[in-house]
């Protein structure tokens, strides 16, 4: 096994622990995004809520693929890009698109949270 393969194996081992923690937090992030979408549905130009969605999506996008959650990473990147646009242009259409993609992101987070092995769910 060459050095690069050894590095990859060591990384794969440590990733499993981070992946578990990430899945544990998926539900929490889903709840946070859900609350932010509720705010945006009643007050679409709530800049603070948009900034918070952007921050959460950005964080998920930064690590999801490395942790093996490819679809989540893609959705998070879409949510991040659309939210950034919504903050810049501040139109009803742009905010609507943000809400739509964030909804899908929430579904995916919920799925990841539910897919944890049973012995992990109890903590």
């Amino acid at each position: 096994m060459n050095d690069l393969s050894k590095n990859q194996s060591a990384f794969d081992l440590s990733i499993a622990a981070v992946r578990k923690k990430f899945a544990d937090r998926a539900y929490e992030q889903s709840q946070q995004l859900d609350a932010l979408l509720d705010r945006l549905e009643t007050q679409p130009d709530d800049q603070h809520a948009l900034q918070s969605v952007l921050q959460i999506a950005h964080r998920i996008a930064g690590v999801a693929d490395t942790l093996g959650f490819g679809r989540l990473g893609e959705l998070a990147r879409n949510a991040e890009n659309l939210t950034r646009t919504a903050i810049e242009v501040n139109t009803r259409d742009a905010i609507g698109a943000t809400i739509q993609v964030t909804d899908t992101l929430i579904e995916e987070l919920d799925q990841i949270g539910q897919d944890r092995p049973l012995d992990e769910v109890g903590g």
Binding site: L4, K6, N7, Q8, S9, A10, F11, S14, I15, V18, K21, F22, Q55, H58, R59, A61, G62, V63, A64, D65, T66, L67, G73, R77, E80
Partner: protein, 319 residues
């Protein structure tokens, strides 16, 4: 190799730590904000060798942190690698303009990260040698009034000039541009005719000041554009401009020369050193040349910048 990683996301910090550890780098300090990073820098006994900074963080972002680190003499040439999920060119340009040496995309590949860190580690060792050399040169200058020599063709790093980056950083910057970013760029060379003769006749610290002042004047000439400048040796500077709409022509050269005329480099003797420049042809990548991003750096250097009529002989007589 002592590394400081800065990211506001604890998962990202953990993954970076694991990837670095897997690549054999275990002396890693983590900070979750720019402010915390500055605290770690202030309180460390032995300086950091490499920084890995996330760009987008609440409060002080990675670009501001990078600029602050660069202002510290101790970290003027330490490799700083930006980590970003943002593909927009303005963020990449800002990161390099602030003094980043390289950047890695998020989500990152641990093997790629390991390779980039080992390159940065090599650069860090070189930077330490350069810093030791600079300290020695300053001491020599204080004792003898003469600075330490550098080769005329050496692409020395010009510090403290905004938007002027080292040649290594420029190469990394170009290699990280996408095809479309490259195709929407232009580059051009500016050359000090007769620099070889100037370099041979004056004190090296004066030669450095001439290059530094010229680079500063070039950046002023491009002040309304997104641009980066690098010094490639032999009195030549390459400017890479983002966007095809910027007109680079004789007016650009006049504006730079006007700046140099208004504020000419001063030699240590107190004499002014008038500098003129020659501008090459503007290089604009086409569909065939854009895939090789380094063409933006190399092609302008093919331009015929012969000193005929450029006043080089006259200056060679003066100096």
């Amino acid at each position: 190799m002592k590394i400081l990683i800065v990211d506001d996301d604890d998962f990202a910090l953990e993954l970076l730590g694991s990837a670095l550890s897997g690549a054999g780098y275990t002396d890693v300090t983590a900070a979750s904000s720019g402010e915390e990073a500055l605290g770690a820098v202030a309180h460390t006994d032995t300086p950091f060798d490499i920084f890995l900074l996330d760009i987008q963080m609440p409060g002080m972002d990675g670009i501001e942190l990078c600029a602050r680190l660069r202002k510290m003499a101790q970290y003027a040439s330490t490799p700083i690698i930006m980590i970003t999920a943002m593909q927009e060119r303005r963020f990449i340009d800002q990161a390099f303009a602030a003094g980043a040496m390289d950047y890695v995309n998020k989500p990152f590949d641990p093997i790629e990260l390991g390779v980039r860190i080992s390159l940065a580690a090599r650069l860090s060792n070189q930077a330490k040698k350069v810093d030791a050399y600079a300290t020695e040169a300053a001491s020599l200058k204080a004792r003898t009034g003469m600075g330490a020599a550098f080769g005329v063709d050496e692409p020395i790093a010009l510090r403290d000039v905004p938007r002027v980056i080292s040649m290594t950083a420029m190469e990394n910057y170009l290699l990280r541009l996408t095809y479309w970013m490259a195709i929407k760029s232009q580059s051009v060379v500016f050359s000090i005719p007769g620099f070889r003769e100037i370099h041979a006749r004056i004190d090296p610290s004066d030669a450095y000041d001439i290059l530094s002042d010229t680079a500063a004047a070039i950046t002023v000439g491009f002040k309304h554009t997104d641009h980066l400048v690098t010094y490639v040796g032999n009195g030549q500077f390459v400017v890479v401009v983002s966007g095809k709409n910027t007109v680079i022509g004789p007016e650009t050269l006049w504006s730079i020369e006007a700046n140099l005329e208004q504020d000419p480099p001063l030699l240590s003797s107190g004499e002014e050193c008038p500098i003129r420049l020659v501008m090459g042809e503007v290089f604009s990548p086409g569909i065939w040349s854009a895939p090789n991003r380094l063409n933006l750096l190399l092609r302008p250097l093919d331009a015929d910048l012969s000193p005929a009529g450029s006043g080089a002989e006259e200056r060679a007589r003066i100096w």
